[in-house]
């Protein structure tokens, strides 16, 4: 759902990757790019500025491990801040102790209130409650009819009064209906209204006062732009709503409105609505969402794993060797071991931005590292330090010793040589780059 922002951040990442230490300057540069990304994602102007202030503050105080670049660290910080902004946990909707519980659905025209009302009714019905839908949108032509059709689909009763032009009266009558018909929850679908339409805002406020809902949900189209904050704020001032519902997230919008609204009204986002089918409703997971924003949370977890597993001194030693162009099979082996410590290959690959997407759904041969390891372990120390001596008969011996066909041994040696050549070419021997390059070429088998 947030694919666009993910891919944009990947581009930013590419730009800021491979730089030395965190400096005022590379932070500024990264933040400028990220600022653009966030604007393109419709995050509100003011929210962006505050957000980046926070990120900057946090970034400047941070120590950078040799194993990751400043850019990656900044992205991790951004991810953390995003989660913080989106809310760090999911919160369920409230039901009252009295029967029936009343849930009010409010929002602008066309945000998806009626469809969401149906979805919510279905969801709580499946959880064992007995909802009734109250058709209080008396303005939009055929809105009542639409709710009736949805009610039929999900087998939930709909309380409607076709001729009544008083939304408040219908809401009250719906509650009476619920009491008489053993329905424990009333979901009130209200009409869409503009935040500046005072008459309409007063109407919805009156309904609130009269029915005293245990939950008011504000429905907002995830494609909304900068205006999201104005609307959310006005609705919140009037109604003090309890939760936000993001709709149409099955589109390709980046959904920055979610960040903006959350930042302005500080009310949890409770649902993500993803399509026109009645079952297309999910709880909102801020961490997942922030993860998606950064490309499935990948680089962040990758950095975390690298921080956990990679021995800083080892890495420094390796950097030295790379500079002197003395990378040999022993180094290769120790690298392999560190990578293996970080987890399964497929999970690692899936964390790499871009790579993860490209390989989605493809099987990765998890044994490839073990095989390479066996081949190296079958070499003598001399061979590991000086691979040039690996002639035909030595290779046959290694093949037999490691239990691999000779072609496999040749292939691994060839890849190693390619890697050596590649390393000669890059000047800044940054650990992460190297690992990345080691991982990605043809030594993975995709079935």
């Amino acid at each position: 759902m947030f694919e666009d922002i993910s891919s944009k951040l990947e581009t930013v990442l590419k730009k800021i990757k491979g730089q030395g230490k965190i400096t005022e300057r590379n932070i500024e540069e990264s933040l400028r790019e990220i600022r653009r990304v966030l604007f393109d994602a419709d995050v509100n102007y003011k929210v962006v500025n505050n957000f980046l202030e926070d990120v900057k503050k946090r970034s400047l105080g941070q120590n950078v491990l040799t194993s990751i670049t400043p850019g990656q660290l900044i992205v991790k910080i951004i991810n953390d801040e995003l989660i913080k902004l989106l809310g760090s946990e999911k919160i369920d909707i409230k039901f009252s102790n009295e029967i029936p519980s009343i849930i009010m659905i409010v929002g602008l025209q066309g945000s998806g209130k009626t469809t969401f009302s149906g979805k919510l009714a279905r969801l709580i019905k499946n959880k064992g409650r007995h909802p009734v839908l109250a058709a209080c949108d008396i303005y939009r032509p055929a809105a009542i009819e639409q709710l009736k059709i949805l009610g039929k689909q999900i087998e939930v009763p709909v309380y409607a009064e076709d001729e009544n032009k008083d939304a408040l009266a219908i809401a009250k009558n719906a509650i009476d209906y619920a009491k008489k018909n053993a329905r424990d929850t009333v979901i009130i679908d209200t009409a869409g209204r503009l935040a500046i339409d005072e008459e309409m805002m007063n109407e919805v406020q009156k309904i609130k006062t009269a029915v005293n809902p245990s939950e008011i949900l504000f429905v907002v189209d995830s494609m909304t732009g900068q205006d999201a904050v104005n609307t959310a704020k006005t609705f919140h001032d009037k109604l003090n709503f309890d939760g936000i519902v993001l709709t149409k997230l099955d589109g390709d919008t980046r959904g920055g409105a979610a960040l903006s609204i959350k930042a302005v009204v500080n009310v949890p986002i409770k649902f993500a609505s993803l399509g026109e089918k009645m079952e297309a409703l999910e709880p909102f997971y801020p961490d997942r969402m922030a993860g998606r924003i950064l490309g499935k949370g990948d680089i962040v977890s990758f950095v975390e794993k690298a921080q956990e597993e990679i021995d800083v001194k080892e890495a420094e030693k390796l950097e030295e060797k790379l500079k002197k162009n003395k990378f040999d099979f022993n180094d290769f082996l120790s690298q392999l071991k560190q990578i293996k410590n970080m987890g399964s290959l497929s999970s690692l690959v899936s964390m790499l931005p871009g790579v993860g997407n490209a390989l989605k759904g493809k099987d990765i041969d998890e044994k490839v590292l073990t095989r390479i390891e066996a081949v190296i372990l079958s070499m003598t120390y001399e061979e590991r330090e000086n691979p040039k001596v690996l002639n035909g008969s030595r290779r046959r011996r290694i093949a037999n010793g490691s239990g691999n066909p000779i072609q496999e041994v040749n292939r691994i040696i060839k890849q190693f040589e390619d890697m050596q050549k590649m390393m000669k070419n890059f000047n800044k021997g940054k650990m992460f780059n190297m690992m990345k390059k080691m991982n990605i070429p043809a030594n993975f088998k995709f079935n």
Binding site: D40, A142, Q153, I196, D221, M223, G225, D227, K248, T253
Partner: protein, 312 residues
């Protein structure tokens, strides 16, 4: 409604927008008479918060900067004029023969297809279009090709009744193309002036739904070549940067759009996304929706629009 009334209505409905976007520009210009970094930064903030988007804002600001350097200006009016003309120049011209509701054409029926994502106000806009055509003395037939959304048929039928025009519906079909086909066929037989085809709201990233739209377009051409004569994309003024994706995808699926209907301008949203769309794609804004009444759809005139925005 006289032109002046209309202009006043437009102005009234844009009061909010004016306060938020151009009102701010005006105040900014009044406060400062020099184009310096601070001025440009504030201008940037105003544009960004109007959904004009980062890139387009950058372009506009660069242009203003460049012109400010080369042109001599020494009054507030001139500075205002500079910004005003920069924005105006971004809007594409309407090159269609359909400029007013009583327009002359030898195309009969003149077919208009309405597309857009969910909830932007397609059906409502169609009701208003039909009403205006009817008032201008044209015969209108609406095709209800939203065969997907619950009660879409009923909603359109109510609008058709309000506008006093005929409608073709096939409540039992799930095939929008067949409704469109039928509508154009009937219109041809009855010698109807204008056909308006409603389509279901769809997100532009759903390939199968976009393919369905292509089919709707294709089958109408079996009856009358070269239809639809207009394809309008309806965009909600609250839409953010995704609006450009919408324009791109609908345009590429339908081999071009002839215009945009910008709805819900009576709220606080500024609809600045159409400026971005026009900067990149030059799709003329043809109508703006400024209220919920049946006569609240106005023909977009970039001059009047910008004038209304700047009017003090």
């Amino acid at each position: 409604m006289s032109f002046l009334d209309k202009f006043k209505r437009l102005k009234d409905s844009l009061v909010k927008t004016k306060d938020d976007l151009f009102g701010k520009v005006n105040r900014l210009v009044n406060a400062k008479r020099k184009i310096d970094d601070e001025f440009l930064e504030e201008l940037e903030a105003i544009f960004l918060s109007a959904d004009i988007g980062y890139d387009t804002t950058e372009v506009i600001i660069e242009n203003i900067k460049a012109r400010a350097k080369s042109d001599m200006y020494d009054s507030e009016e001139e500075l205002n004029e500079l910004i005003y003309s920069e924005i105006k120049s971004i809007f594409a011209e309407n090159l269609s023969e359909f400029k007013t509701y009583d327009f002359k054409t030898d195309k009969k029926p003149f077919v208009i297809m309405i597309v857009g994502v969910n909830g932007v106000g397609k059906t409502t806009s169609i009701g208003k279009l039909a009403y205006n055509f009817k008032n201008a003395g044209k015969s209108v037939l609406i095709g209800s090709a939203d065969t997907f959304r619950a009660a879409a048929n009923d909603q359109l039928e109510i609008w058709a009744k309000r506008a006093g025009v005929d409608i073709i519906q096939k409540p039992n079909t799930k095939d929008p193309a067949s409704v469109a086909f039928e509508t154009v066929k009937v219109a041809k037989e009855k010698n109807t002036d204008v056909v308006i085809i409603d389509t279901a709201g769809r997100l532009h990233n759903k390939t199968h739904l976009m393919d369905e739209l292509k089919k709707v377009k294709r089958v109408m051409q079996k009856i009358v070549q070269d239809v639809p004569n207009e394809i309008f994309l309806v965009i909600d003024a609250t839409t953010g940067q995704n609006g450009l994706n919408q324009a791109k995808e609908f345009s590429s699926a339908l081999e071009g759009l002839t215009g945009i209907i910008l709805t819900k301008l009576d709220g606080t949203a500024k609809g600045g996304i159409v400026i971005k769309i026009n900067n990149e794609m030059k799709i003329p804004v043809r109508f703006i929706g400024v209220g919920e009444q049946i006569d609240d759809l106005q023909i977009f005139d970039n001059d009047n629009f910008v004038k209304a925005l700047f009017e003090k």
